[in-house]
């Protein structure tokens, strides 16, 4: 029998962490900004949305519509929050990274 895919790709992992850090304020553009300010990595809004949609189809995040605002041309925000499965997947990915990094020398900062 095939095992359920609960692994996270590199960008999925980063987006999940950003959603977690932002809490109730996680929507497309804030997730993009959070990644940019925390990592210095310039991620496009399209890459963030593609990842969020994929995470939602995997059941790792859920979304709900926010209120429309004037500065958005009357368009509503879409907020994202992590599900229990998402938290589990994030924990698994962290454990894998910690296990793989355990005992490794030469990874410290210069």
């Amino acid at each position: 029998m095939r095992k359920r895919d609960d692994s996270l790709g590199a960008l999925e992992h980063i987006v999940m962490l950003a959603v977690m850090r932002l809490g109730s304020q996680a929507y497309g553009m804030t997730v993009r900004r959070e990644i940019e300010s925390a990592t210095g990595r310039d991620v496009s809004i399209g890459a963030v949305y593609a990842t969020l949609v994929r995470l939602e189809s995997k059941g790792f995040v859920k979304s709900y519509a926010g209120e429309p605002t004037a500065e958005r041309g009357g368009r509503a925000k879409r907020y994202f929050s992590m599900t229990a499965d998402g938290k589990g997947a994030l924990r698994n990915t962290h454990e894998i990274i910690l296990k793989m990094g355990a005992g490794l020398k030469g990874l410290g900062s210069n």
Binding site: S44, G46, Y49, A50, V53, R72, G73, A76
Partner: protein
């Protein structure tokens, strides 16, 4: 003019996400554009907006293609069909220039050689996409049926029957072997 170009580019971008995400995506872009135009300058904000649209197309396009599972299955089956065609051409060519085999037309050797190759291609196709080998078999059946009904060549009955079954049966066998390999 510039406004219309931006509107058109934004519209194209919004078509690449599911309907539920269109409004939020465009709203997010507008919100950040307004913020940057206030903090920096409208020109810098416009540059950022255009960069975002250009950088967003490849990941959204890829996500859209991979979401449509039947398109990928059809794509893999089509690539497998092309691979079968190329190999079949090479095999027929090799047989035709071999002095021992004589004329390649209606040569059973071609079918014997092609059978395991199609099984292998079907197996590989199934590895990439589930049911791709079945679609490959169906495509081969369709093309052979069309060829048989349109050809004016006087084909022996045995070759007609063998040609009709060899490709599809081999592709389905490839699919079955892959399924058995996974379940083991």
């Amino acid at each position: 003019m510039r406004g219309r170009t931006l509107q058109a580019l934004t519209w194209i971008l919004s078509r690449l996400v599911p309907e539920s995400e269109r409004e939020p995506l465009v709203g997010d872009l507008m919100e950040e554009y307004a913020l940057r135009a206030n903090v920096a300058s409208p020109a810098a904000a416009l540059k950022w907006y255009l960069q975002q649209i250009c950088a967003s197309v490849p990941p959204l396009l890829w996500a859209r293609l991979t979401r449509a599972a039947w398109i990928s299955t059809l794509g893999v089956a089509l690539l497998a069909y092309i691979a079968v065609g190329v190999v079949e051409f090479a095999v027929n060519r090799a047989i035709s220039i071999s002095p021992a085999s004589g004329a390649y037309t209606f040569n059973p050797l071609a079918l014997v050689i092609m059978f395991p190759i199609v099984v292998l291609i079907g197996y590989c196709a199934e590895r990439f996409r589930r049911r791709a080998a079945i679609v490959l078999g169906a495509m081969m059946l369709l093309v052979v049926t069309l060829m048989m009904s349109l050809t004016t060549e006087n084909m022996p009955a045995w070759f007609r029957v063998a040609y009709f079954f060899v490709g599809p049966v081999a592709a389905i066998l490839g699919s079955t072997l892959r399924s058995k390999h996974i379940s083991r």
